[in-house]
Each structure stands twice: as C-alpha cells, then as structure tokens.
Symmetry: C2
Subunit: 337 residues, 2 copies
C-alpha cells in the first residue's frame, strides 16, 4: 500500500471557515485511509468543530495558529508580518517536509506569494502557474495560467504547457493530452505579440502534443485538454464561465416561471436538469493547484463548502502518489538541455 499523504489545511481561510473546512477535512479522512490532515488554525475553535464528528483520530492533527490573513490584506506584507497565521503556518508544514501538500480557501494573493516565498519553486521552473480544472461538454480541461503571473513571457507559457501536460496525463489519466494556446483566431499568424512569439516555441516542443490555437468559443466544448494562456486572459476565461453560467441559469429559471404551463414543466424537468448542470459547475472540480512548487499548493474557491475542501484534499493524494513534481522536474530539465 502507498504511504500516507499528509495535507496541511488552512482551517481559517475562506468565507465558510472554520466550520465547512473542518467538515470537509473530516469527510476526506472518512473517504480515504491514505491521508492525514493537519488542520491549522485557532486550536479551540477547530477542536470545537471537530467535536461534532466521529472519525479516525489518527488521521487528523490540529496545529495551533493565532493569526488570520484576511482576503483584503496586501499579500506580501501579510506573509511577512503574520508569521503565526494559519496560512503561513500551513505553508511552513510543507516547506519543512512535515506535509506533502497544502489546501486553502483563504486569500489567493497570499497563497500565491506564500507558495513561492515559503514553499519555493522547483529548480528550473520560472513561474508557478495557477491551473484550475474547468468543465467542458465532454469532461474537463486544465486552464493554465489563471491568476498567478500577469504579463508573462513566451518561455513561461512553454513551461505552463509542459507542466499542464504532466498534470492531465498523470493526475487526470488523459493519454497524450492535447495542448492548445488561447488565440483570437485559428490561423497560425493571428494574435498579439506574446502569442505570436509563443506559437513556434510550442510547435517545436518535442515532449508535448501541441494542437495549435484555440478560440475561446471552443474551450467549453472541450477543444483541448491543456489550455495555455497568460494569467490575465486565463482569469477572464474562468470568470466568464461563472458569469455567463450564472446569467443563463437565471434566464432559464425566469423563462420557466413565465406561464402556468411552463411552471408545471419546470417541476418535471428540475431534478434531471439539476444533475446535468452539476457536471458543469466549477466548484465540483475542487481546488486549483499552483504547479511547479516544492510541494503541492492548492487554492480552492473563497466560498468553498465542505465538498470542495474534501475533493481538494483527495486530489492531493493522487498528485503525491503519482510523483507529479518529480515528473515536472524531469520535463522542465529536459527543456534546459
């Protein structure tokens, strides 16, 4: 049997901390015996939450932290000043090697900065990208980068393509994943300066399956497995998913409430509709890994409920068992030779 994977969880991060975070941790250890969760946060409140559940006590440890980093705080300053915050202490557990992975629904900025400053980059990785899974009509794709590095350079995007390929192949089990770069047209000569410079580099990259440009329109239908873009564009894509999805579902609901006939119909379609749309809900896919660090750092939505925390923790098991970081290191180093 594989070794136990140790996950540091920021119990105080996110809109629903600590209750939903603790609940998610309990659900994760109930679901898998391969994981041990270190809940980092105010000892008293975390223990009070834990007391509500029965679970294997050997799989959960509470690590006390007296401070909390708020979402609005400037990240660099927060990381530097709040040494006893749940976020910093959880990252320290990864840095020291006590834990393999870190999960937080807290400040994105502080997680991105802390991940780089405290946990540190894998040698050779220029910039660690934030890479969420996004739902498509046929399954899911990896959107890389999505918020970690604005104003990226072509060499960064090439590394994103490599790291994303490793992730999709070994965590998601997609053989020879199709890599595409986001562009405003399908033709090779389209795009802005960054994309035009990056395209030939990706084309000449021997160890990825580059399929060319992808227009944003073709992302939700599953046009590629690894969607490479710089962080500003990635962030816009991710948030358009949420925004258009929410607006359309609102319109569908309104449409169903316009007449007696449609109201009766709505009652009949509701259960089936709910389960289909669930497959298209971003939150079902757990957190986004910040790839290329000496350890796994996972950022989940600020509004995460227990199910997303649980999924994020379980995701750490595959990541660690599959030795993803060793594989990323090999692929990045291959490029350097």
């Amino acid at each position: 049997m594989a070794e136990i994977v140790k996950v540091a969880v920021d119990a105080m991060g996110g809109d629903n901390a600590p209750s939903e975070i603790v609940k998610g941790a309990v659900e994760a250890v109930r679901e898998s015996s391969h994981v041990k969760v270190f809940l980092v946060g105010g000892e008293a409140v975390v223990n009070a939450e834990l007391a509500k559940y029965t679970y294997n006590k050997e799989q959960v440890e509470v690590v006390n932290a007296t401070e909390i980093i708020e979402t609005a705080e400037p990240p660099v300053m927060a990381i530097r000043k709040k040494k006893d915050s749940s976020l910093v202490k959880a990252l320290m557990l990864v840095k020291e090697g006590t834990c393999d992975a870190y999960v937080s629904a807290g400040s994105t900025g502080a997680t991105l900065v802390g991940g780089q400053v405290i946990v540190g980059r894998i040698k050779g990785v220029e910039r660690p990208p934030l890479a969420p899974l996004i739902p498509t009509v046929t399954g899911c794709s990896l959107l890389i980068d999505c918020g970690a590095n604005v104003d990226a350079r072509p060499s960064h995007l090439v590394q994103f393509a490599k790291m994303g390929s490793v992730y999709m192949e070994h965590v998601m089990g997609i053989k020879n994943p199709r890599v595409a770069i986001v562009n405003i047209g399908a033709e090779e000569d389209k795009g802005n300066a960054l994309v035009k410079e990056t395209f030939p580099l990706l084309k000449n990259c021997p160890d990825i399956n580059f399929v060319g440009n992808i227009e944003a329109r073709d992302i939700p239908s599953g046009g590629a497995d690894v969607i490479v873009c710089e962080a500003f564009v990635g962030n816009v894509i991710l948030k358009m998913y949420e925004g258009v999805g929410a607006a359309l579902i609102k319109k569908v609901k309104e449409g169903m409430m316009t007449s007696l006939r449609s109201k009766i119909g709505a009652l009949l379609v509701k259960p089936a509709l709910k389960s289909t749309l669930k497959a298209f809900d971003l939150e079902e896919y757990g957190g986004a890994p910040l790839l290329g660090l000496n350890g796994l750092v996972v950022k989940t939505h600020g509004s995460s409920k227990a199910v997303e925390i649980k999924n994020s923790i379980l995701q750490c098991i595959t990541f660690t068992e599959q030795n993803i970081n060793k594989k990323i290191k090999e692929k990045i180093t291959m490029e350097e030779n």
Copy 2:
C-alpha cells in the same frame, strides 16, 4: 422629417450571401422609410434575389461588383488587389459620401483594414475599436474593443471609453453610461501593466462616468454599460459568451431528455424558455460598429441571417440621425486640449 440615411450593404459577404443579405435589406426598407439601401454585389444574382420580394423600389439600388473577398484571404492584400469586390466597392460608397454607413457579414479582417484604409479615421482618433453590444441580465452593454487592435496602449483605451460613452448615450439612450475597465480584481492596484497605466487616466477623465474595474464575472449581470478592454481580451469575452452559452444550452437540453418525466416537462417549458433565451442571444443585437471612422462601418456575424442584417441596417439610421461621429469628434478633441 429627418433626411434619408443611405447604407451600403455588402451583398456577397457572409455564409448566407446573397440570399439572406438581400432579404434583410428588403425587410429593413419595409420597416423604415428613412433608409435607402445600396446592395453591392453581382448584379444578376442580387437582382434575382430582389425579384422574390415586393418593396419600395426607390429605397433599394443595386451596385455591380464582380469580385468577392473570401474570409480566409489575407486582408491587406485582398483590399489592395480586389478593387472590384463587393466589400471594397461598398466601403468606397461611404468614402465618396454617397452613403453614410456600411454593413457587411463578410471578412472581419478586410472590413477592419478597409474601414481604416478606405473610409479613414476621424481626425484625432488613434485606433478605431470594434464595439459589439452584448446581452446582459438587465439589458445590454457595449464591449469595446473586441478585435480591431491587439497590443493597445493606455491612450487607446481612454479613447475607447469616450467613444463607447457617446454610443451608449446617444444610440442606446442610456443617460450617463457607466464605464468600467476589465480587470482581474475589483481593487485599484490589481491588473497587468496596461490596465494599471490606464486606470488613473480613466479616473481623471472628466467627461466619462468611470466606475472602476469590472471582473469578467460581473459583465453578464450588467455591471457596467461600457466595458473597456484591449482587443485580445475583448475577443475572449465575446467568444466565451458564445461558447459557454452553447455548452450550457446543450447541457440543459441533455438534462431534459434524461427521463420520461423530464421529457414531458421539456415540452411544457420549451416555448417560454425559447423566448427568454432569445434575449440572451448575441445575434439579436445586430452588428458591431467599428467606431471612430469617417462614416459608420458595421460588421455583422459571418453567419448572419436576414434579421441580423435588417437590425444592422436600422441601427445605422439612429447612428446617423444622432450625429454620433460629430459627437465622437468633439469628445476626442476635448481630450487633446
């Protein structure tokens, strides 16, 4: 009564040319006596299409053009070589002053290039942006720029904000339209280099109603009236609308077909749903104007049917009657002082 507005229509452009284009033109003149349409294209085929309809003959004139610019042709070369194409000849009608406006469902690239080279920019306008209306939960917003100028500079974005404000106020009738810049966070210090440089310029602009950053998530819910961004990001936003919309509607349909119960429900909700979703369909909003030119240039979807052509032609009437270009010129010149 206002003068007749003259619109040059590229009868050979788009997937459904010439039949749907001619049909749309006929529908426009049937709906308004304020417009005269110049249908530019192969005389024989256009006349054959026209023969199918009854309409006021004085409102339609056919202008012969023997060549067609295909979508895949490199735009600059096509404009230069195909002097007798429907696209070039229609733009020439605007340049000469025979027509006030131009509508085409043909090559976007050739329309953007031809608009600038043939029709020419308003003095003071640095770059003419493509600015489609996009549906929101509460109405519609103007997305500016959306494909004309990649790698834009801050001064371009400020002009986009001004031109967009004029359009939304005087064509769409929105008093003091809210202008926002697309960013990856709501805070003032967020963003890439372009947005960080542009933000204070917009903030200090006295003649627009700048409301700050908008995250992509808040665009479909109607967070601002004028959505300012550079073309690459605008293109991604527009195409995510199409992509997420299509994917979700596919999922909704699938969901409704999963059981007998939901199939019956689907029959009952269908009519109500259809009419609500229509309000969220990009194609209902007619074409996108290329603002800042000496005349109005409107690009409609390549897949335009008659209704979109008709709406685009009718849109030209308001634009011309409202003297939008004079107002744009005044606003741009104001900036220069």
